[in-house]
Point group: C2
Chain length 220, copies 2
């Protein structure tokens, strides 16, 4: 496997290309840090953007939903653009024009496929749970056939992808004499202390893995 | 103006419709709380999902970018789906099937229009700065004609929209006897203390408005 995705008309970073990359490692880093993705489909010529969670196994990205979902049914076999973005800071400059955002975003392109077979669906959902919460799958009440039948899992191999990252102070430092505050307001997404379900026995501890995740500053 | 958007084939909430709303107030609340949006366009039949900031004036949503951007040029006059989503918590259940996410998301549909005229562009960008950072516009180095010419502002009137919100403990409380921890891990996006630009005079204080924004727990 090559280190970079092909740079095509579809995926080439055009604006602010010094912020761009097509390297697999850079694409994976943004996908893995951003569980929430926005999946773009075309249905009858019109765009739809659906938020969902994604997980990745090698060069294959997965997402899931109800087996009855029109988006998942309509997406099968069609081109998809799946985008993950995180804001990392507001960039405050001297001029309105130089205001910006520090961010990481990945756009990945491919063709949506419906995962077939209950066994494969079960395995993919185990991967998902383990990807977010390592060690949790074995502790759960096992999935039923009915639950697997009610779940659609989609996957796509990444055909093309691009990443853009901005992580810098304001770009108009040359105007540093202008008398207005400039800098970066960092933005972070954090996990807070777990809230037990109301019916949970009071003496049931938070699993170590979940406590470690909350402490890690990561989303998975 | 009616209190709700029309419920159409395009915007009707199908899955988990008890979480859905088409009320303007609900749509506005999600848009206003989520500056980052994902805009879906169709170019040559294929979907593209671009992250950008949005702001709202009444029933009109705005976003902007470089005047040279292919997305902004291609989007002009075409149907757009603009989606704002926030994750509010991981929902941990007894079964894999009942795991979920607490979230707020809005999908808004309309037709992209390019804002014409330097004066209108300047006014829209003032609205944007003031929407994020009230009082800041007047403190900035004024925009130049060249900066306004380099900026494209797009807008669309919201034709249809839907909101989905989940904000609840795990749904499988009836299985509360199963011996695994269940509950919600809250997710929050926060602003941290402002970092001054390297060239900023050491004695320049953070403006009161920015300090208040950081303290507010809101993103704008």
């Amino acid at each position: 496997m090559t280190e970079s995705y092909p740079v095509t008309e579809r995926s080439r970073v055009r604006r602010a290309h010094e912020r761009g990359s097509h390297a697999r490692a850079d694409v994976y880093a943004v996908l893995d840090a951003s569980p929430l993705c926005h999946v773009g489909y075309v249905i009858d010529g019109a765009p739809y953007v659906t938020p969902t969670l994604q997980w990745r196994v090698g060069d294959r990205v997965y997402w899931h939903g109800s087996a009855a979902s029109r988006f998942l049914r309509a997406a099968r076999g069609t081109p998809v653009c799946l985008t993950c973005s995180q804001m990392d800071g507001y960039v405050m400059a001297r001029s309105a024009f130089s205001h910006s955002v520090n961010y990481r975003s990945a756009m990945v392109f491919g063709t949506a496929n419906l995962l077939e077979g209950e066994e494969a669906i079960g395995a993919a959902l185990r991967d998902m749970i383990e990807d977010f919460f390592p060690g949790r799958w074995e502790t759960l009440r096992p999935m039923t056939d009915q639950e697997r039948k009610a779940t659609a899992v989609l996957w796509m191999d990444i055909e093309e992808a691009s990443v853009k990252v901005r992580n810098a102070p304001p770009g108009d430092g040359a105007e540093g004499d202008y008398p207005v505050w400039a800098g970066v307001i960092p933005i972070r997404t954090v996990l807070d202390a777990p809230c037990p379900a109301p019916e949970l026995p009071a003496d049931m501890p938070v699993p170590e893995g979940l406590a470690a995740l909350v402490a890690s500053g990561r989303l998975r």
